[in-house]
Chain length 419, copies 2
């Protein structure tokens, strides 16, 4: 069970080897067969949408996408993982959904999100082992792609909600530079942090999807990535790494080096430690305001976990928030400066493999900094622990250098696959 | 006919001289009497909301606010000035609306907005002279405050939609530092630019309203503002100023100087000219994505004016957008550096008084730069042209120095009033 290549599928459609109707019918069968166990979907596309998709034109015709239920869809309810929005039908598609449909993509359904993309787990299980969390908050999107039920999916990340579930499910996840993908029509949790992202089976797939959606040159090129200067990012939270993850990073580094890369250790400067520590405060303060209506007028329909988090956010004084924003601004500048010496950084995508539990979505500690700084970040699949569960490695590039992040991630993915 | 002071009203309520019910009943009568001519409101609060407001507690109890129909309200339809959203009832209040209600404010109704806060005029007329535009896109909010139908109102600005209508209607308008007020629940036009703002009769009123909404120390203090270093901002678009406006700036400068200020000429540096010229491109590119659903799936229900603007935005190559964003980033830094030499800047809020037409909402040329850079900006009322129509002057401060912008604007407003 593993995701299939969107890139190969599009090539087969273009060559005439595969029909759009056959593609979509196969995805439909696969969802029917698997989703009873995996529970990635909370809602399927209505019959009219499915019928229209067979006749779609455009570079994404024949491609089935999952959409995290934090994004609005005009043809399906959008409940944001909350009882407050039961049966809520938006008037408009979220911007990324409208753009995907305009390119011919079929939106196969809405995928499970934690409550407002916060921490309360969903019913979704990890396709690699059903006893493990798929990660969160984009739980359903990552699981749907990993199980091959869709060719790609939209997710969002405020702390670590794209990169972490991609890592836990063993697929490619791409968190673009801040605001490269619009978040219009995504239920806001924290406006300085919320970032729309993409999932697909492999890095080349997610890069092609991003290129077709944005009109930017992001599809991974055939150019030589061997001679990169690569920084291995080291910070105090490395102490919490699972030994298997520490060993995956060492393995990745050694493969990159053998392939010709120049490796450096990049120790986290104090200004980036400060920025990393400012992320939870910014998230808490902004979420209390973003969800003011829900916090104040719909308290009883929030989980206790989220209600408490929002109340804590509402108690933060504006001065402390302003101080955290200053730390963030300084952090963004420092994050740019990191790339004066290296082309890319690599770092663990999570502390280890997916926890063997459905009661937690795992820890976003490794992702908070890069969400705050807005640097592009790609999860590279292909590493595993002793039990065969996926371990993800992040490739991070300078703000705006998304094409480089994707190309380098693809390079590392191939090195991992070729052992 | 002129707005009344929110600050004095709150003081009267606190002292017991005025009852909440009497306050709200009087506002209601005033809307009934005047809005047939002015047409500021597109929708009034339902009876239950009005009944509940009489019993409200909190620092804003007894205060009636207008909400531009670009913000969501759970108790009133929210149509964004577009036929596409006819009868659209959001599930949640926009964040600022929820916060205002939680403080006890009565949301008296939704005020007219141009289509998605773009340029197509509304039916609203300027209370100072019904043949003149009130400005846009926050047309109804500015007019409702100017006519004394509400104590304050919410608006939003993407190019010049708070400061310009405030200037045209002769009231205080406050565009805070970028994201000081959350825009969650505001229909997005351009995410890098959309800024929530406030209107009230005078600067002290808008400052007090901002303080009560945000918990920040923004209410104007009694401290001495006489010895400010004030830059008179000069740029190439000054050539287009109406002579009456040029003379109002000169008058303001001379009053400030006589009161003890040190005046400097601040010529626009090239990097800020670049930033100013980048604003329309950023607005066009982002709006084509933000309104992707409407542009692609609801084309026929857009006005020709907006449809063309969105199509132009959709044709902008990502490279040009990235270049404009770099110009914006450099502009933000340069805008901060301007305040190394001065405490505040003053500049015209518009090219002149409100055009004597209902076919245009006027030109935002004077506002685009400060929206892009995110600096706090306050429209100071109290200046007039030969026919008695208001002329607005902007006080601009360093990013985050909102309290200083408001205090200095209050100082200038008092100098204007005392002749």
């Amino acid at each position: 069970m593993s995701g299939e290549s969107l890139r190969r599928r599009l090539a087969a459609i273009e060559s005439g080897a595969l029909g759009i109707d056959a593609c979509l019918a196969e995805r439909n069968r696969r969802i029917n067969a698997l989703d009873g166990d995996i529970r990635a979907f909370v809602r399927r596309a209505p019959a009219e949408t499915a019928a229209a998709a067979v006749a779609a034109r455009g570079p994404l015709a024949g491609i089935a996408l999952g959409v995290k239920d934090i994004f609005d869809t005009a043809d399906m309810d959008s409940e944001y993982g909350s009882a407050i929005y039961r049966g809520h039908r938006p008037r408009a598609d979220a911007a990324v959904v409208a753009l995907a449909r305009a390119k011919g993509a079929f939106i196969a359904g809405k995928t499970a999100t934690t409550e407002f993309a916060h921490m309360t787990p969903t019913a979704t299980r990890n396709p690699r082992d059903l006893a493990h969390t798929p990660g969160g908050s984009s739980s359903g999107s990552a699981a749907a792609v990993a199980a091959g039920m869709v060719d790609g999916a939209f997710g969002s990340q405020t702390a670590g909600s794209v990169i972490r579930p991609a890592a836990f499910c063993g697929i490619a996840g791409y968190k673009p530079s801040f605001r490269l993908l619009p978040v219009v029509g995504l239920k806001t949790f924290a406006w300085s942090l919320d970032t729309a992202g993409l999932f697909a089976a492999g890095v080349a797939d997610v890069a092609l999807l991003a290129e077709l959606l944005t009109g930017r040159a992001l599809a991974v090129p055939a150019t030589d990535m061997a001679r990169l200067r690569i920084g291995i990012y080291r910070s105090a939270i490395d102490d919490r790494l699972d030994p298997a993850m520490a060993s995956a990073i060492a393995q990745a580094a050694s493969r990159l080096e053998r392939a010709g890369a120049r490796l450096l250790d990049t120790a986290e400067p104090a200004v980036l430690t400060n920025a990393r520590l400012a992320q939870p405060l910014i998230q808490a303060y902004e979420s209390a305001q973003a969800l003011a209506h829900e916090r104040l007028a719909e308290r009883d329909r929030l989980t206790a976990l989220l209600r408490q988090a929002l109340d804590e956010g509402a108690a933060i004084a504006p001065d402390r928030y302003d101080e955290a924003r200053r730390a963030a601004r300084q952090g963004r500048r420092a994050a740019t400066a990191l790339f004066d010496d290296v082309d890319i950084l690599i770092a663990p995508s999570a502390l280890g493999a997916a926890p063997a539990s459905l009661e937690t979505t795992g820890d976003p500690a490794m992702n908070r900094l890069w969400t705050l700084t807005g640097n592009p970040c790609v999860n590279v699949p292909g590493f595993v622990d002793a039990s065969g569960m996926p371990l993800g490695i992040s490739v991070i590039a300078r703000f705006g250098r998304d094409a480089l992040a994707l190309a380098a991630a693809h390079h590392l993915e191939r090195l991992a696959a070729n052992g």
